[in-house]
Symmetry: C4
Subunit: 370 residues, 4 copies
């Protein structure tokens, strides 16, 4: 079905990206494709540029078909064919590649068939870290969330029947059946309030007021559950990310496992690209850094010093004066552990030996630079 436009270029792209999650090229194709699909539905815009839009859409489709085929082939070569094909990611790839052609084959109008290009958006899902976190929250809190949903549905149905009974004579069109009243109820309970259907009898309005206040309550519960769960999940995620890095920093290696767990809760991981300035001379400083991976360059007057894995820097602003005394820049992709002033003090208080190590090093550096 797919007309291969610019085949070799696409092949190279697709081949290069078969193994990775979602590449920059794929993101570009998704964005382009969806925007073109939106333009397709705007009569005057499509009339003005229908050649370009068509070419673009077919190119995106070809890209996704190609990507799918390449990935299927690689999966079957490594004996994991069906496990890929039936995994969430495989199904999303299949849907992105096959939905539009299938619709065209099944005889759908061309403009209608291309609407399915919106499914390309789903290809973003497997690459997103936050969505995985979200799914965990949903699974862990499914019990309370379901309870709130049941309350939501019960209020919805009770309110619809009540308002249907109270309003059907006054507004036979808008409240002529329970499904019609349900439409009103859902717009009210979510506090959306379109205003296309509104009760007009005093009792109907009383029920409506009650439904709105219930809406606030349902909202509050929902938010409360999600907020609590998300907070816990974020903390857990940060701990997992940081733990590995902490154990690689020799400075912390002397600590016992309980202290390491303690320290891990205080640190925050920061991933930085190459040639990023971390500290700017003269700025106020309120944190220090440990290098878990990579290297940084300290721009001292007259010389440049490089610090590698396991070193720390930025401690001087926490110990004495508040201002940073040099520019510090990453030389390559680096992973740093950030220790906030608050936690720095806490840590120094609980582990006097660490405090001494940092103090000695800071004094040595100060001496060296003067």
């Amino acid at each position: 079905m797919s007309k291969p436009l610019g085949f070799p270029a696409l092949a190279r792209f697709a081949a290069a990206t078969a193994g990775r999650n979602t590449t920059k090229a794929a993101y570009a194709a998704i964005a382009t494709g969806v925007i073109l699909m939106v333009i397709l539905t705007v009569e005057p815009a499509y009339d003005a540029a229908h050649h370009w839009v068509d070419v673009g859409l077919w190119a995106c489709l070809a890209f996704f078909v190609f990507e799918w085929v390449i990935r299927l082939r690689r999966a079957f070569l490594t004996q994991r064919g069906w496990s890929y094909a039936l995994s969430g990611r495989g199904l999303v790839d299949a849907a992105a590649a096959a939905s539009v052609p299938s619709a065209l084959i099944l005889g759908a109008n061309s403009k209608t068939a291309w609407l399915l290009a919106v499914l390309w958006l789903l290809k973003v899902v497997p690459g997103m870290r936050g969505l995985r976190q979200l799914r965990r929250v949903m699974v862990l809190e499914s019990g309370p969330l379901l309870s709130v949903l049941v309350i939501f549905l019960m209020v919805l149905l009770l309110a619809s029947v009540a308002v249907y009974y109270l309003e059907r004579d006054a507004q036979p069109v808008a409240f002529g059946s329970v499904p019609a009243a349900l439409w009103w109820a859902v717009a009210t309970l979510t506090t959306t309030g379109y205003g296309d259907v509104v009760p007009i009898t005093p009792l109907g309005r009383l029920v409506a007021a009650f439904v709105m206040i219930c809406g606030l309550g349902v909202f509050g519960l929902w938010t409360g559950i999600l907020a609590t769960a998300f907070a816990a999940e974020t903390r857990r995620d940060n701990f997992l990310k940081t733990w590995e890095s902490v154990t690689k920093v020799p400075f912390f290696a002397a600590l016992g496992p309980a202290a390491i767990a303690d320290v891990t809760h205080m640190l925050r991981t920061m991933d930085l690209p190459a040639r990023t300035t971390i500290i700017r001379k003269g700025q106020a400083g309120d944190c220090m850094y440990f290098i878990a991976d990579g290297e940084v360059e300290v721009d001292l007057p007259g010389k440049k010093v490089r610090l590698g894995e396991g070193a720390f820097f930025g401690e001087m602003a926490l110990l004495g004066n508040n201002l940073r005394s040099a520019n510090i820049t990453t030389t390559g992709v680096s992973k740093l552990l950030v220790l906030d002033l608050v936690d720095f003090r806490m840590l120094m208080a609980r582990h006097p030996d660490l405090a001494e190590t940092i103090d000695l090093e800071a004094r040595r550096r100060a001496q060296e630079n003067n």
Copy 2:
């Protein structure tokens, strides 16, 4: 009043379920009944299938009447008749069974009488665990929630009177009385905003803007109170559920009561049906499991090992490499205790003896499997 359709079948159903909370049959009857009631109010749908709808509704009603009678009989036989009849659940059963017939006897229009079938939904309430939790939150936080409600009502009345005064000359129909202004105020304060009644004078709009911002504030307070309370309640509930299971696992029995309380906060209970895959080979693992109840089957290359109550598994992915090394499936209904990687490390740090036990067992297993 109830026409017994398919009496013996229903009798068997009802008898079987008299003692339990809400059975699958009852859930089906509730869903069917409510859907049919909704269809009843849709003119064309009802005209097309009124025989089926009538039969279905009477069948559901018969089921609920039967259930109520059976439960009443059992309750009176066990000397707890009145305590059941007047309990929340007994009243709900009574309402479900008697409301529609009563309405018909009192001469209500048939279509109107059947609207009361919406009360059948209430039968879901006693069986819901989350709703009990919710009621506890409401009771414990009744003080602050009431305060917010009073603030809500005060803003409502003050705003209504103000807007009534400002708008009554400009819009004598929409703002002709304080109750009419109250309707506007409640739709505005809940941020529903139907738009059927809107102030048009500058001062009226100023008051309206103030009411909307108050609405955000009320919303925020409400959410804040519910979120805080729900978080505490969830933690408490989880502790209660987990505590019993923890004490049954011999691995933790050696710990003192303070440590057990500590461990309980780290674990999460998970109830699983039979033949569920818990761990899939090759996946990344970030938790280990203790069997509180039931049995699991480990699918090792060449043999199948069964682990029973008190055993643990999944610890290898936490100790060394990140990937699960075997499929593990429940053999029957099982209750597992899940220990997250984060808490695993915390636990190992605080209780070195437990760490050693797990380490030894993991090494023994690794040796055995190679």
Copy 3:
């Protein structure tokens, strides 16, 4: 101005209540007065019953005037005249008593003057515990709340000007000036969305979409700040209320101050009226009680035992079987300290001596009752 209707009765009322916060009579007068004021504005209802409404309103006004005069007199007799007259409560009393008469004297239409009766609602404020808590939250979090308000206002103004510029030609009436656009912006940013004024140009709609999403953000920040602050305040309030009671229970007296502070965080105060059933035989129990004030009656088979201040009960359901073994009722107004199962276990783990005391007492009781 006030026509004394049933003077002596009111005098007795007012005199009795001069010292207290807000009496039941005052609450009744407030509710009656405000409802009558609302009825006054509904043409047909007022026409039908204007004599009753007038008499009721004047009676309520007389009550409030009387209350104010009595309180002023008492305050001046005890040398605290001005401090009462100018305190929040004194001003509210003055406003409630003087606003309607002043309006009438100043020549306002009778119906308009009575609208000021809505100020009577303010008399509820000084008696509300929750509102004081709320004020503390507002004061402590004034910084962040103000920041959010400034963001809110900045988004409001920037959006209004942008939409005014974009829409003024397309909709010269609705968006004819920045104040008109501000009305739209406030209804949008609070997600109220009346729909009376809606942008129709593509760029205007883009700005509107951005404003709506900002609305969610502002909402989220606001809720977050209030939720956090309210949670802290609730904890603090509970601690203050509970602390006094804990020190009065001899059971806890042996603990050091640090442990008492610890215990205080675990307990919850519960104020109960006389003859309230606290524990019902046969129910599942998940907490135990300490009597801080008052007395309870245990309804054992064949005898009734009374427990006074400092005693505890309900511990058996926490130690062994889960079901309560007797009805327990308060004899008079009582203050109990509730210890949840979760915290009970924590407490027993941390303070083995307390655990022993409870255990001994429970065994003694079990022996005695068998």
Copy 4:
């Protein structure tokens, strides 16, 4: 471009304020300027007072131009010219000074050009403490917030395409293209619900109901993330502010660093202007104060005692009777550390030596005053 009106006066203002963040004069100019700009767009108001409005706007503009020039000059004199000019604050100053003149030069209509005066509002940003805190929250939580935004956009696009497909035949004008459907979707997903475009087919309404419920979910997630992050940030900010002050109070100097960190979490900083009454005689007291900076005057019967840096007061209300025994007022600008009753008890329990010091001092003071 700027007509210098009242040049010397402005010069003095601007010169005086070149160094500071935002002065009172600048705030006044911003407020005046924006209000005048709003008035400019209201036809009748502008017609009535166009001379005054014009003069005011030009004066404000002159002020901002002057301020910018002065600041640039000072910056270049101190070798930091470009770093100021290109900093956030420099750019805001430039925009405020240059946008209106540029628009006028580029030939824009005078009324349209002055709309850019709304940019003056941005000058408020650099001076706001809360906004910096907010930016930190945004940066730290950018991951989860971005995830929610992506979910938001995906629901938006999927819903738009679905509703476009379902409604385009029924409502060719309102749902004639995907962008038109997007407008509906964004108003629905944010629960704004204008009601100008509403689905009318049953399936379209089903999708709409689903979108509304998703709206609640997105809202809940957003709020949850922001609430959690804001709470953490507030705690951190308070710690940083309080730490410096704590170390200056000799009373705490004897404590080890761990205890100081502990104490810092319990205290709250309070900045007070001169001659503010902190404690009023006869009030109920629930906190004590430490003087970190400044001086207070205790108004004892017959004499006035002054307490300076490092002293504490208000402890008597926490130790014995609940009522404050004297008025206490600041003599100059002061910084106090507030210790709540809850934390006071906690602190006394953990540090018995501090408890003794306070107790001795309280007894000494009581003796002295009687």
